[in-house]
């Protein structure tokens, strides 16, 4: 069965199936958006945890750590209960749309971005941080400088957040509804095709997902390399 499936997989990919392309496009759009938001929120939190000293720091640290092990299906259930018609934000009519999926993936990816950024900053040479203090830089400028200094690790943090978002299936299925051409992404499509017994199709989509993850990471590695060369 596996060999026949691989053969079918190659044929489907080459034929440029429209539905498949739509599924891939939606996956990328939704996960890229979720990752961007996760980075915008998570990176500052990571810097804060690594270098700030403030009340509630320990609590925030625990939240971020727990957040990294948050079961995505639980996130899905909660987002669903908030956004469905009888929920507090039901009037927004967001359930079963890509927006709901971005929200769910954002919640799952942000702790990862924050936690890995914290490690990245904490691992910096302490001289860099002191140099910034001497400079008298404001908090925002200081944070940006720290992030810049830890660039290689921070890009890993973002890549990991993206990985989490794009491979997420439980929450995306629940809050998106797996609606054809609207909220069907690569992971939910794999679930559907496997449930229908269409293993070749499921395999194709899985391979594309893998290729996307590879591409993203290869690109970031290239960026890190060229960056190091210029440093």
């Amino acid at each position: 069965m596996l060999w026949a499936a691989l053969e079918e997989a190659m044929k489907l990919l080459v034929s440029g199936d429209r539905e498949l392309l739509r599924v891939i496009g939606l996956s990328l759009m939704i996960s890229a958006s979720a990752t961007t938001l996760a980075a915008l929120v998570g990176l500052p939190i990571g810097v804060l945890l690594a270098s700030g000293r403030f009340a509630g720091r320990a609590t925030l640290a625990v939240l971020v750590d727990t957040g990294m092990s948050l079961p995505p299906v639980l996130v899905g259930l909660t987002v669903m209960a908030v956004f469905w018609r009888s929920g507090p934000l039901g009037a927004l009519e967001i359930l079963f749309t890509p927006t709901a999926m971005v929200i769910a993936q954002f919640i799952v990816a942000t702790p990862i971005a924050a936690g890995l950024t914290r490690s990245a900053i904490a691992g910096l040479d302490p001289d860099i941080a002191s140099a910034l203090d001497v400079d008298g830089a404001g908090p925002v400028a200081r944070a940006l400088e720290l992030l810049r200094a830890a660039r290689p690790q921070v890009t890993v943090a973002i890549a990991a957040a993206f990985g989490r978002a794009v491979s997420e299936v439980g929450a995306s299925l629940m809050v998106g509804g797996n609606i054809a051409n609207q909220t069907r992404v690569m992971t939910t499509a794999i679930t559907l095709e496997a449930g229908r017994g269409e293993f070749a199709r499921a395999m194709v989509i899985g391979m594309v997902l893998l290729a996307v993850a590879l591409l993203v990471n290869a690109t970031l590695a290239w960026a890190r390399r060229s960056d190091r060369a210029s440093a």
Partner: protein, 301 residues
């Protein structure tokens, strides 16, 4: 070199901002003003068979109403409907549906189509299901001999019928399965068939899914035709006043229910599946009682 990185970063950010704009605009999936839409909660069998792919575009053309379908299983569909989270339901759990309607959740309930369930199992057939006169007798045999049986146990229409059949055979609704003969998969029909295949166990399947899967498993069809195995699908429109004004798209749901039971849809249903399976998958509710179904041809292996 740093220049290359900046360029990449700038390009990347522009792409991402564009994507986010695209998402936000596509998500006025709250539709552009004036587009009527409907949320249909249905079963996995109607979706997986491809029937909805054949019907819904025709409905959207005829009515101008966009349909968003979530395939969740009959039990979950009824639960969503009870909360007003869906506008229309297409389900196949008549007992549960009648109770649900009696509780006052629905407005209209109309029969759409039917086909049948079949009992499938290992070719060796240790519990002699093939020779059983009725499905309840077959289940009794399976329970007495403690032969492996896979239950979906997921609140789907198939699952609800299976539990009812166990009751009718005089067994507890969920046989206790100490010695592990009664196994609960908690999953969809495809996955359950795979488990039954791996364990050489019996299970209950709707005919549509069975036709799609029988070439992929070594299980064989052992019992069909018992009137208790009739599989009836109905369309239900949810009562409009469950939620504040406008949240439930009741008019669209009623339009859908009427269309599904009207001549165009019923004709499409009567023909559906002929191309792929050699015979139609479902019998429309509007048809006169059909003669006994011919035996399914055995696929060449």
């Amino acid at each position: 070199m740093a220049h290359r990185l900046d360029l990449a970063a700038r390009l990347g950010s522009t792409l991402i901002v564009l994507q986010m704009l695209a998402i936000v605009s596509s998500t006025s999936g709250a539709d552009p003003a004036g587009t009527r839409s409907l949320l249909l909660a249905t079963t996995t069998s109607t979706q997986d068979s491809g029937l909805l792919d054949a019907l819904l575009p025709a409905f959207e053309d005829d009515s101008g109403i966009r349909v968003k379908t979530v395939a969740v299983g009959s039990g979950a569909a009824l639960a969503l409907g009870a909360r007003g989270e869906a506008d229309a339901l297409l389900v196949h759990a008549p007992g549960a549906e009648r109770k649900w309607m009696a509780e006052g959740h629905g407005d209209m309930r109309l029969p759409v189509m039917h086909n049948e369930f079949v009992v499938v199992g290992p070719a060796a057939d240790p519990a002699s299901v093939r020779a059983s006169a009725t499905v309840t007798a077959a289940l009794g045999q399976i329970a007495r001999q403690r032969v492996a049986w896979i239950s979906r146990d997921d609140g789907s229409g198939t699952d609800l019928l299976e539990k009812e059949l166990w009751r009718q055979s005089g067994e507890p609704e969920k046989p206790s399965g100490e010695a592990g003969w009664y196994v609960r998969s908690g999953q969809g029909m495809g996955a359950t068939l795979l488990i039954a295949d791996a364990r050489r166990a019996y299970t209950l399947s709707d005919r549509g899914t069975w036709l799609a899967w029988r070439a992929k498993v070594r299980l064989v069809e052992l019992l069909r035709g018992d009137p208790r195995l009739r599989n009836d699908y109905s369309v239900i429109s949810v009562r409009a006043d469950k939620l504040p004004e406008g949240r439930i798209h009741a008019r669209e749901a009623v339009a859908f229910a009427r269309w599904l039971t009207g001549p165009h849809a019923q004709r499409l249903i009567a023909e559906f599946g002929r191309e792929r399976y050699g015979e139609p998958l479902f019998a429309p509710a509007s048809a006169k009682p059909a003669p006994a179904l011919p035996a399914l041809p055995v696929p060449a292996r």
